[in-house]
């Protein structure tokens, strides 16, 4: 058993939300640079170049890469031999977000669904925690923008739809989204589970660094097949036409009920922000 003071969580989360919004990860920079070489549209190519330049300005001038600095989602793996002391886990995370969004000059983007009154400090935070063996606490801090989230979809397909049905729905979702979620995007696909599990898997799939292959060779092949179909759509960078609509498709799959084939599709814009913390 290990004691861990929650004040450390606050400090790390604060740093993570600022870093995530100011410093685009190396995986995304590599993917954007690679995409410049693939893009056939001159305008598309120019847009991809500007996105790389944008990331550079954000990092050097300490300004967020995108004004939509997101709502914060935290995926947590809590070791069952960790004893959290000094306060509540949720409060510690939210205090980190509160401080990070203030000190980092990040936009507060949460409001009441009907009155639209801003909560003022970018809380609450959406926390998905699972208990795992061991003494480590692992957090993935993900500021998620509204544009891609609004274009995300969930389908409860009949089992007869099979892979063909899943593929059609994913490609259709990306084409219908068109320019709205700021392509080039990353597409997270959660297959199986139930209603909420497939959505959660779709979001969790986005945590994998872009450019790293799926561990499962069958899913890897399906990801490649989907990416090709998506990029044949011609939507292109910013939806203005081109060969690079998505930079990657990430799939997670778990068993489903014998009556169902749930599919969650979570679309992530090119400002793909996620920081991993181990405590």
């Amino acid at each position: 058993m290990r004691d861990l003071d929650v004040s450390r969580i606050t400090e790390e989360v604060k740093e993570a939300v600022i870093k995530a919004n100011l410093e685009l990860g190396q995986d995304m920079l590599d993917a954007l640079r690679k995409a410049i070489g693939k893009e056939e549209s001159p305008l598309g190519k120019e847009i991809l170049e500007k996105l790389v330049e944008n990331a550079k300005i954000a990092r050097e001038e300490r300004i967020p890469m995108c004004q939509d600095t997101g709502f914060v989602v935290v995926f947590a793996q809590v070791g069952q031999d960790v004893h959290l002391v000094g306060g509540s886990f949720q409060d510690a995370i939210e205090e980190g977000v509160r401080r990070g969004y203030k000190e980092g000059y990040l936009r507060k983007s949460l409001c009441h669904p009907f009155t639209r009154k801003n909560t003022g400090d970018n809380t609450p935070v959406i926390v998905h925690a699972e208990i795992i063996p061991g003494e480590d606490l692992r957090l993935w801090v993900v500021p998620k923008g509204g544009g891609g989230e609004n274009m995300s979809r969930l389908f409860m397909l009949p089992p007869s739809a099979g892979w063909k049905g899943v593929k059609e729905r994913v490609v259709e979702a990306v084409i219908q989204a068109g320019p709205n979620p700021c392509p080039p995007t990353i597409v997270g696909v959660g297959i199986g589970g139930d209603f909420e599990k497939c959505a959660l898997l779709a979001k969790k799939a986005l945590l994998r660094p872009v450019g790293t292959p799926n561990h499962d060779p069958e899913l890897r092949a399906l990801e490649e097949e989907l990416l090709e179909a998506i990029n044949n759509s011609g939507v292109g960078p910013q939806g203005l036409g081109g060969r690079v609509t998505s930079l990657a498709v990430h799939i997670l799959l778990v068993p489903s009920h014998i009556a169902s084939l749930p599919v969650g599709i979570n679309i992530q814009c090119h400002a793909n922000r996620h920081i991993e913390i181990v405590l």
Partner: protein, 186 residues
């Protein structure tokens, strides 16, 4: 690609009628930022026949809710937000003489019809390039609805703000044309 065309508001019908979907444009001068909540308020005032806190005749509205300005800067990240959420309010604003909108993403048929009727254009800035775009914004003043925070209407003085004409006054649409050009059956 052609050389960019310069636009300086206030714009006349002729200024926007010469623009074609796919043209690149650089904007110089004063524009206004407004997004969801500000649009709702403006449309309500128009419906009631009241006067507006900003002029619309010949003006450009940028769909923007910037991040806060860090010390020493006039504004934070300042990229476009998705435009369809402003669609329900846009025909009313176009009827008041609004000549151009800067955003990203698709527009409704009602908006495109109103753009053709009132001679206006829809321009796209690069979504997610908030740090880059902020460098084109030289001065910022809150023009109305300060209580809305990031959604307040701001008067922005911009220099060489780069945008692309997506929908022109004839209803040509680069989102449709661009996709058609690069789609492949696979």
């Amino acid at each position: 690609m052609n050389q960019p065309i310069e636009l300086v508001p206030p714009l006349s019908d002729q200024d926007v009628e010469r623009l074609r979907a796919g043209d690149r444009v650089l904007i110089n001068g004063t524009i206004y930022s407004a997004r969801d909540s500000a649009h709702k308020r403006l449309a309500e005032l128009i419906q009631k026949g009241r006067s507006l806190p900003i002029p619309l005749q010949g003006q450009i509205i940028y769909y923007l809710g910037p991040s806060p300005a860090p010390p020493g800067k006039v504004i934070g990240a300042a990229g476009p937000t998705t435009a369809y959420r402003m669609d329900p309010y846009t025909p009313d604003l176009l009827a008041q003489g609004l000549k151009a909108m800067i955003g990203k993403g698709k527009r409704s048929k009602e908006v495109i019809d109103a753009m053709i009727r009132h001679k206006a254009v829809y321009l796209a800035a690069i979504g997610g390039a908030g740090a880059l775009i902020s460098k084109c914004i030289k001065e910022v003043r809150i023009a109305a609805y300060e209580d809305l925070g990031p959604e307040a209407i701001r008067e922005l003085r911009v220099e060489e703000l780069p945008v692309i004409v997506v929908i022109d006054t004839q209803g040509n649409n680069l989102y449709e044309e661009g996709r058609k050009k690069y789609s492949r059956s696979g």
